[in-house]
C-alpha cells in the first residue's frame, strides 16, 4: 500500500513540474469529488443541489444557445471599461495627491469620505439619475476600482526615496520628466497592487449591480435563474465567477507584478 501512494505522489510531483497549470487545478479535484459524492448519495434533493455533471450539461446548453458567451462578454466588457477609467482617473489623481502636500490636504478627507460610501450604496441614487443601464453599471465599477488605485498610488509615490528624485534632478531631468522617469515606475508596484484589489472589488460590485439593475451579464444570469428556480444555472454562474477571476489574476495581473516590482527587486517574492 505504501509504495503505491509513494508512486502516486512522485507521479503528481513530476506531472505538476512539467505542466504547472495542472498544479493549479489539483486543489479542486477533491472539492469536485466531494461534491459529486454528496450529490450521488442524494443527501440533499437533486433540485436543491445538482451534481457536477448537471452543471457541465447546463454549461453546454447555455454555450450552444449563445446566451452564456454573450453574457460573459457583456460582463467582461463592463469590467474592462471600468478598469480602464479607474486607471485613467485613479493613477494621475494618486500621483497628484502623493506629490503635492496641498492636494493631499485638500483631497485626502474627501477620498476617505467617499471611499466609505461603498459601491452599491450608490445604486439607489444612480438608478434614479441614469436608469437601469450601462451608465449606472460603469459608474459603480469605476467608483469601486478607483479608490484602491488612488490610495495605493499615493502610498507608492510617497514611498519613493527622496534620493531618487535628487539623483534624477542632478542628472538633468526636469520636474515634469521626473513624473514619467521616476514617480510612475517607482509607484508602479503599488499601482498594480491597487489595481489587483480594485478589480477584485470591482468584479464583485459588477455582479451585485447586474443582479439589481442588469439586463444581461453573469450576475443577471444567476438572478434570472433564481426566478426560474434553476439551481443548476446559479451554481454554474458561481463557478464561472471564480474561474474568470482566477484567469484575470493569474494570466494578467500576476505576470505584470512579476515583470515589474519583482524583477526590479522592489517587491520580495
Amino acid at each position: 500500500m505504501k509504495p503505491f501512494f509513494l508512486n502516486l505522489w512522485s507521479h503528481c510531483v513530476r506531472l505538476t513540474a512539467r505542466w504547472p497549470s495542472i498544479g493549479s487545478i489539483a486543489p479542486f479535484i477533491p472539492l469536485v469529488a466531494g461534491w459529486w459524492i454528496v450529490t450521488e448519495l442524494e443527501v440533499f434533493p437533486r433540485a436543491f443541489l445538482p451534481g457536477p455533471v448537471d452543471v457541465v450539461r447546463s454549461f453546454g446548453s447555455l454555450v450552444y444557445t449563445g446566451i452564456l458567451p454573450e453574457y460573459l462578454q457583456d460582463s467582461m466588457v463592463r469590467l474592462a471599461v471600468g478598469a480602464f477609467w479607474g486607471i485613467a482617473l485613479g493613477v494621475p489623481l494618486g500621483m497628484l495627491v502623493g506629490l503635492s502636500q496641498r492636494a493631499h490636504t485638500a483631497l485626502w478627507p474627501l477620498l476617505l469620505f467617499f471611499q466609505a460610501i461603498g459601491d452599491i450604496a450608490w445604486l439607489p441614487i444612480l438608478v434614479i439619475w441614469f436608469g437601469y443601464g450601462l451608465i449606472t453599471m460603469t459608474v459603480v465599477i469605476v467608483y469601486t476600482v478607483i479608490f484602491p488605485v488612488v490610495l495605493n498610488t499615493v502610498l507608492g509615490v510617497r514611498s519613493i526615496p527622496i534620493t531618487m528624485h535628487r539623483a534624477a534632478l542632478s542628472l538633468g531631468a526636469s520636474r515634469t520628466r521626473i513624473l514619467w522617469e521616476v514617480v510612475l515606475p517607482g509607484a508602479l508596484p503599488n499601482i498594480v497592487t491597487g489595481l489587483r484589489n480594485g478589480l477584485g472589488y470591482g468584479w464583485r460590485a459588477l455582479i451585485a449591480t447586474e443582479i439589481i439593475v442588469g439586463t444581461s451579464g453573469i450576475g443577471f444570469l444567476m438572478f434570472d435563474a433564481r426566478r426560474a428556480g434553476s439551481v443548476v444555472e446559479i451554481l454554474l454562474g458561481m463557478i464561472i465567477l471564480g474561474i474568470l477571476w482566477y484567469i484575470v489574476d493569474s494570466w494578467i495581473l500576476a505576470p505584470i507584478e512579476r515583470a515589474t516590482g519583482q524583477r526590479w527587486g522592489l517587491v520580495t517574492r
Binding site: 526615496p161 535628487r166 542632478s170 542628472l171 520628466r177
Partner: protein, 252 residues
Amino acid sequence: MKNLTIRNLSKTYFDPYAGTNVTAVHDVSLDVRQGEFVSIVGPSGCGKTTILNMIAGFIPHTGGEILLDGRPVKGPGADRGVVFQSFALFPWRTVLENVAFGPKMRGVGKAEREKIAYEYLALAKLTEAAGRYPAELSGGMQQRVGVVRALANEPDVLLMDEPFASVDAQTRMTLQEELTRIWQEKRPTVIFITHDVGEAVFLGNRVVALSKGRVLEEIAIDLPRPRSWDALNDDPRFKELSGRVLQLVRSA
C-alpha cells in the same frame, strides 16, 4: 576654468521641538579648482552632508554664496553630478540605462548615449553587467554604477556623499583604488565627503577637516600617484598625514 567657490556659506534652520534656531554650517569658505580632488572629513553631525546638499542645490543655503564657474548655484542641475551613499540607482532601469540616463535627459540619441554609457562602463569594468538590473548586483557593483552614472554625464563637479560607507571593508579598498585610477584618467573635479580619515587622505589632493559646522584646517596631501593601499599602508608620510587629520578632527 570651471572653479567652485564657496564663500561664507552657512545654514541655519528652525528646530520646532527645541524652539530655537540651529546653525548646522557656520561660515564655511572653500575654493576648489578644476580637476582637483578635495576630501571633506568630519564626524557625524559636523555638517558635511549639509554642505554637499547645498552645493548640489537639494536644500537652500541661508547665508553666503556658492559660485560655479562664476555663476551662483540655484537648485539641482546636471553641472553638478552626485554619488549617493544609498546608491540611488533607478531599480526599474538596467545598468546601461542608468548610466545613459544623464545623456538621455540632455536629448542625446539612443545609439550615441549607449555608446557613451558603454565607454564609461568599461572604465569601471562593468561591461558584463550592462543588461542587468541594480537589484541583481552586489553593493560594491551598484556603487560602481553610481559613480559611472554620475561621470557619464560629464558634470563640472562630482559630489560624492560618503559613497563607500555602506560596502564591506575589502570592497571599499578596491573601490577607493578604482576611484583614484578613474580620477587620474578623467580628471574630474571631485568633492568627496567622508567620516573616514584614511579614506580622505588616500583619495584627496587636499583634505578639509570639519567640526561642528566649521572648517578647522585644510591640509594639502602630497602623496604621489597612482596610489594603492599596498604601497600606502606602511608609508610614513601617509601615516603622518592621517595622524594629523585624525588629531584635528578628534580634538575639536
